[in-house]
């Protein structure tokens, strides 16, 4: 009998989970929205324009590169470029020039992702590649901060909690740090929102809990020891945890699936490494903030970590 029913011949399994890669990406986008809203609440139009600009630029860059590489352009909407665009915007100062936003977004998607081969092949977190480029190219733009609720022409410059402490030894109330009512990047200031969204992401099994947990524990221990040695010179661990980009980095950037390890032990070492590097930069380095560089630094080690932390297979002794 011929195949009159057009039966599909396919290798098993014939069942699939409902979860898909675009679904994961758009869930991340959804969980980044609270931070976007907080950013817009604190920094008004400045924040909104930069988030949208970064997002649109990321999508356009993705589209152009997919066309140039003769790939399926419908992949623009797989959600990964959207995540990159929004994440980049959330890590920018609220008053950074719009041209910087465009340049950062183009670099993030092109050099951060597409040159490696697109989705899944990038070694570094694309958003952070974009941000690192801006930091190197426009250091002044990237370190000019405004107080929340002051915007446009009246904006009053301020220091970030980390910068203020590093330069003047000024401390910031913990409550302000947690709620986000401080100077800082668009989406990094409100630690509490980031933690809630991050926990949801983990519960949905779209981020590996081992990474943020090991980062937070490492930073706490590192800062705790320093604080015990000299509490006037070093802030308490909570200050380091809730300031700067640590929470956003720990929950949303270090956990980027593509650029983080795939083995359980690898993830833990990766998190510990980020925790150590960020504290070394913040405490001993020349920069007040080190989350971006610590994640990029540890991204380099992911292939090695994957190789040397291969788990034992079933029954192996």
């Amino acid at each position: 009998m011929e195949n009159k029913f057009n039966l599909i011949l396919e290798s098993s399994p014939h069942f699939k989970t409902k979860r898909s890669t675009p679904q994961i990406m758009y869930t991340v986008v959804l969980l980044l929205l609270p931070m976007c809203i907080a950013g817009v609440y604190f920094f008004r139009w400045d924040a909104l324009i930069r988030i949208l600009l970064s997002l649109v630029t990321a999508l356009l860059t993705e589209f152009i590169f997919l066309r140039l590489r003769k790939k399926d352009v419908s992949s623009v909407f797989d959600g990964s470029a959207a995540v990159t665009g929004i994440l980049l915007a959330l890590t920018l100062p609220p008053t950074v020039p719009l041209s910087d936003v465009v340049i950062g977004s183009v670099v993030a998607v092109s050099i951060g992702k597409q040159v490696f081969g697109g989705l899944g092949y990038n070694i570094f977190n694309p958003a952070l590649v974009g941000r690192a480029f801006l930091q190197a190219a426009f250091p002044v733009d990237m370190t000019t901060w405004v107080k929340p609720f002051y915007f446009n022409l009246d904006s009053i410059t301020t220091a970030t909690p980390l910068g203020g402490f590093k330069i003047d030894g000024a401390s910031t109330a913990l409550k302000k740090l947690i709620l986000g009512n401080t100077g800082g990047c668009i989406g990094e200031t409100s630690a509490i929102l980031i933690i809630i969204a991050g926990i949801i992401l983990i519960l949905l099994k779209m981020a590996d809990w081992k990474i943020p947990v090991s980062i937070i524990i490492t930073v706490s221990v590192f800062a705790g020891i320093l604080h015990l040695i000299d509490s006037t010179k070093y802030q308490d661990p909570l200050f380091y945890l809730f300031s700067g980009g640590l929470m956003l980095g720990a929950f949303f950037m270090a956990t980027d699936m593509v650029s983080s390890p795939i083995t359980p032990l690898g993830s833990i070492i990766f998190g510990i490494g980020i925790g150590i590097v960020v504290m070394v930069i913040r405490v001993f380095g020349g920069l007040p903030e080190g989350m971006m560089y610590s994640i990029l630094f540890m991204n380099c080690f992911v292939p090695l970590l994957n190789r040397y932390t291969k788990p034992k297979i079933f029954g192996e002794v």
């Binding site: 399994p13 890669t21 994961i24 899944g120 699936m257 192996e316």
Partner: protein
Amino acid sequence: MKKLTFKKGIHPKEFKKITENLEIREVPIPPRVIIPIRQHIGAPLIPVVKKGDRVKTGQVIADSEAFVAAPVHSSCTGVVKNIGNYPTPISPSDTCIEIETEEKEEFDFDLNSNIDYKSLSKQEILKLIRRAGIVGMGGAAFPAAVKFSPPKDVHIDTVILNGCECEPYLTSDHRTMLELSERVLEGLKIIMRAVEAENGIIGIEDNKPDAIEKMSQMVINESGISVQAVKTKYPQGAEKMLIDALTGRKIPPGALPFNVGVVVSNVGTAAAIYDAIVKNIPLYRRVLTVTGEALENPANLLARVGTPFSFLFDYLGGFSDDVTKLILGGPMMGITQFNLDVGVTKATSGILVLGKRKRRKEFNCINCAECINHCPMFLIPTKIVKFAKNSIWDKAEDYDAMNCIECGVCSFVCPSNIPLVHWIRVAKARIAEIKKSSGK
């Protein structure tokens, strides 16, 4: 109490409600049967009948002298119409024996036999198991007599009957345990005698409470035999996972169950062994589930080996036009078919007729590690696949490709829709080929 289970795995939707309460129905004799002579893993068989010969039900029609083999019997009474190449469920073209059947049946075995297996020696039991052509009926189709003949220095202490039936949709083992409970239990006792094991465990997934209760009642007065409920999780029915769940013993890579003192047998195989030893009936028919949403009347059937699938579908009133996939076995490990005339084999535990399904686009691997988090063998499927896609076979082997049990969990969980297990199968085949050609 903590439920007995193994680590990792998945929970696919079950779809067992469709057929789990339907009694096994015997399918009438089809006008013709097409019996593949390759129905087991091992040495090929040679037909022992000729075109035009008249054969009785249960008569041997193909056999081999080799140790790893199981003869094939005629499933009907009739005349051999042809011996030649036909499509089979596992091959596009393989030697089959086509028999035109007659309504009046004659049997090649004594219908009234009732042999006390306790009077038989271990060797006699194994010989009878082989003569009856018994293979693993859970799907692997490994000759049972060979499995029950471990090397001399090995002591088997436990026989496990596999009543997990962890594949979605399938309910043939479930119904076998409910309706043929006595034969299953006696079969277990025969296997225990054949391998000289002290313990027997019947492992049943806890989504079959009625089967657990029925079998538990049966074993109340049996010494050394217990029924254990195991957590419903795929692939609980995989040999290594079941042994781990029930005994805590972990089979080392490359080893077999007997290395940890265990043999595992499917419940249907146990019932067939009872038939073979006590009733003298060879394996010429089996229980199978024919189900799926594109089928009007799903059922649990007792069908003869060689019954064309098309005959079963006609018997059940056909299927709807939106059928997209015809699968031999369950949805996780089953093999898709394109020819409706292939025949039921000894290892056909079910036939699945699936309706319209959305085809999903394959994305690049995003390193989400879902395959690693769920692989019951603790492999790194995504790595093996990346090496396989680039034909780096030695690296694929370094990442333990050969230890894959092909359960399909990795492909199931992959959000990027990558056919992981398919690539691992490719890698396994290539690695085996390379090893063979290099003479290792």
